[in-house]
């Protein structure tokens, strides 16, 4: 019996499954046979496995584990929770018997969880009781009480009196062990009452015995004696030698203390004979001790010495036994503490790892934010630079456009023409030319700061420009402007004088060098969301490459126009274009712009 014999006179009403059931070899064999016959991995096999393991609890507990493991595997596979719970409980029993309290606790805890899941009160209460016992063994009284109270509640809920009595007495024992006799006695009285109601004499005897013990410790020898006597009598009637021996021994002891040595001797003698019968060494030692003091008092020195010797021998064997179990207990506790420490260490380590991960993650996020910030700043800077460059290009182009429209050739050629008219005394022509020239100049200056003007206004300016040039060419220049029906000239916006460089080109490099009249034909069309100008002339065609001066002038205006169209394309996100092509007679220019409407 690994169970510590701390409560030496206290009869404990704990019940492992088949706790007192001595295993019978033939029963074991028949179970083994049955198991062999039933190879199917089902719930019946699980039942058999557990039953067999249970039968082996005291005879060969180590063999029981393999059976339990199989029972667990099958139950889990079949999702049979009750089987799993029963197996775990039996596993706990096996460990408990082997004094491996730690593993026993673990198995019982698992069994408890499962039994709660399937709400099997019977199972739950038995497990709670066993858990309480282990904690009591480990002197973890608070946890023991907690489990016993739970055990009490479940047994009350089930209405199982026997279990309730056991729970009450176990609670009482804990209180008595912790010297809280008031509580202990009150629980014992409750248990006693119930036991009497149940007419369970074994329980009544055991509880009465425990009650007497408590009273003895409370220094109430008379009451204690009374109860011990009751317990002894009842035990004799039901033939329970354990209780009888314990009670008689206690009566002897108390009488010795009260110096009623004759009475003490009688009781000690009776107790000794019963103890010998049942082989209770410790109680035999106690009996010898009482007898020794009784003989001494009678003056039988030799008998007293002999009794004392017996006492010492037996006590030593008990003590060594006790020490052994105490050692086991200590070792267990040490192991448990070590495991606890390891677990704590592990928890700490995991916490640390978690913290490291967390810090790492935060750092990573910070880094990403910083990275993005730097990236964004650089991108913004680039964007800004691009915008600035674009704006610079816009203003530069605007200026150049103005300069190309008001190009010095045009101004001085015009002034030369006026001078020429005056010298020829053609005042009317000179004045006419001059007024037109100033009107055009004013319009160009006014419009140069506008991004776009209505198409009709732009065409009026072109008209004026061609009239001026026609005067200079002595009316050998004719022109025609055609606008498609689906264009509203006053609601269509165009960049001012975009055509001027091309018309100037046509006039001075196409028509002026030509013999005979020249013709410029301007057509304006709508193509989807683009506006298309087509300018045809019937001049001499594009200038030859070696005429560098004229060419550069022409291409300068065209370059600027290209630039203006690029800007417009960029702003409107549509691609405009310029196409210059040679014809058999003259040149054709096609300009495509994003169509922009005012309303």
């Amino acid at each position: 019996m690994p169970r510590p014999t701390k409560n030496k006179y206290c009869i404990i009403l704990i019940c492992l499954v088949h706790f007192f059931g001595a295993s019978q070899q033939n029963k074991l064999d028949s179970l083994k046979n049955e198991l062999q016959a039933h190879a199917l991995k089902d719930t019946i096999r699980v039942g058999l496995l557990i039953k067999l393991a249970s039968e082996m609890t005291y005879s060969e507990p180590n063999q029981g584990f393999s059976l339990i493991e199989e029972a667990l595997t099958i139950s889990k596979k079949n999702k049979w929770l009750k089987g799993e719970a029963l197996a775990q409980r039996q596993k706990g029993n096996l460990y408990y018997v082997l004094a491996d309290n730690l593993n026993a606790l673990d198995a019982y805890q698992q069994a408890l969880v499962l039994s709660k899941k399937i709400t099997d009160k019977q199972l739950e209460s038995s497990i709670l009781s066993n858990l309480g016992n282990i904690h009591a063994d480990l002197k973890e009284y608070d946890q023991a009480l907690e489990n016993y109270h739970a055990y009490l509640e479940t047994s009350q809920a089930m209405g199982n009196r026997a279990e309730e009595i056991k729970a009450l007495s176990n609670i009482a024992i804990i209180y008595n062990d912790t010297e809280n006799f008031k509580e202990g006695v009150s629980y014992l009285k409750k248990a006693l009452e119930l036991a009497k109601l149940e007419k369970n004499n074994l329980f009544v005897a055991a509880i009465t015995n425990n009650l007497a013990l408590a009273q003895k410790k409370q220094d109430k020898p008379q009451k204690a004696l009374e109860n011990y006597q009751k317990a002894a009598d009842l035990a004799q009637i039901i033939g329970n030698k354990y209780i009888e021996a314990s009670a008689l021994n206690s009566i002897g002891e108390i009488n010795a203390l009260l110096q009623n040595y004759a009475v003490a001797e009688t009781y000690a003698d009776r107790a000794l004979s019963i103890s010998k019968e049942i082989g209770a060494v410790e109680w035999q030692a106690d009996s010898w001790k009482v007898l020794s003091s009784a003989y001494e008092n009678k003056g039988e020195t030799a008998g007293a010495l002999n009794a004392y010797k017996e006492y010492v021998t037996l006590r030593d064997s008990v003590l060594s036994e006790e020490k052994k179990s105490e050692l086991t207990r200590k070792e267990m506790q040490f192991q448990m503490e070590r495991q606890q420490a390891v677990a704590n260490e592990e928890i700490k380590r995991q916490q640390l790892v978690k913290n490291i991960y967390l810090i790492g993650a935060i750092l990573l996020v910070l880094l990403a934010v910083l990275g993005y910030y730097i990236y964004k700043r650089r991108r913004d800077e680039l964007e800004k630079k691009k915008t600035a460059e674009f704006n610079a290009k816009v203003s530069e182009t605007e200026l150049k456009a103005l300069r190309s429209q008001m190009n010095p050739h045009f101004i001085f050629n015009s002034l030369n023409s006026i001078s020429d008219f005056i010298s020829k005394n053609d005042i009317q022509q000179a004045d006419d030319y001059l007024v037109k020239f100033s009107r055009l100049t004013r319009a160009i200056l006014e419009n140069s700061e506008k991004k776009s003007i209505p198409l009709n206004e732009d065409l009026e300016l072109m008209e004026l420009y061609m009239q001026i040039e026609a005067i200079r060419l002595e009316n050998k220049l004719h022109h025609k402007i055609t606008i498609d029906q689906d264009i509203e000239p006053n609601n269509t916006l165009v960049p001012p004088l975009i055509l001027q460089p091309f018309i100037e080109n046509s006039i001075w490099h196409g028509i002026a060098p030509k013999n005979g009249d020249g013709h410029i034909d301007i057509k304006i069309k709508k193509e989807g969301d683009m506006l298309k100008y087509v300018v045809d002339d019937n001049g001499v065609g594009q200038p030859k490459k070696n005429m560098s001066e004229k060419k550069s002038n022409g291409s300068y205006g065209i370059k600027i126009t290209k630039s203006r169209i690029d800007i417009l394309s960029h702003l409107k996100n549509k691609k405009g274009s310029i196409n210059l092509m040679d014809k058999p007679e003259g040149v054709r220019v096609e300009i495509t712009l994003p169509l922009e409407l005012q309303f």
């Binding site: 001059l434 007024v435 100033s438 009107r439 004013r442 006014e446 609601n491 409407l597 005012q598 309303f599």
Partner: protein, 248 residues
Amino acid sequence: MLKALIVDDEQHCIDRLERLLESSTYNIQIVGYCKTIDEAKKEIVKNTPDILFLDVQLGNETGFDLLSQLNSIDFEVIFTTSYDKYALKAIKFSALDYLLKPIDNTELDNALQKLRQQRSLKEASKKIDVLFHNFKESNASSKRIAIPTVEGFSMMDTKEIIRFQSDTNYTHIYTLSQKKITASKTIKYFEEILDENMFFRVHKSHLVNLDYIKTYTKGKGGYITLSDKTKIEVAVRRKDELLQKLRA
């Protein structure tokens, strides 16, 4: 027979105008010319001209200075200028007439014809009042405008105007006092001379005073509701710019 006085600080400009007036079909008698404000003041008192051709830029002074120094104005004024954007805007605001130099004889004829149709000299004086009011008033939102109508002219504070609505070559003007005036000018004319921060062309046919927009309702272009509860459609292409102005 109308008496004309020419005020200009450049002789060749005077000569050109004289030549053009002499060859004109309108019967104009030139009573004199002067090059400074002081000379002009004396000439005006002495000759009581019907028409004053007045150069905007007179050395360090302006033609406006001359007008402001006169006690009464009982003649028509036609400004002459070669290139002065701000002066031109002010002149247009007062619906006064002007000629651009070098003067084109067709334009001179047009101006003279308009003059002949003028009902009374009182209007000339009123227009000049408008001009001076606008010079004195530095606050852009409180300008007076002379509105040409079929009958003559209507002088009005720009603050009074809620909106303009185009009707081909005419424009209807709706005021705070719930009057409707029909101007003999296109909506474009008003859009050009009015402050673009005060009036906005929300639609081909509508020019509205930004101060009187109560709500904007979303839609393709959406519409605005003015303080007089009229709802005005907003053109799709004007929507973004309008919202930008409203936010500012």
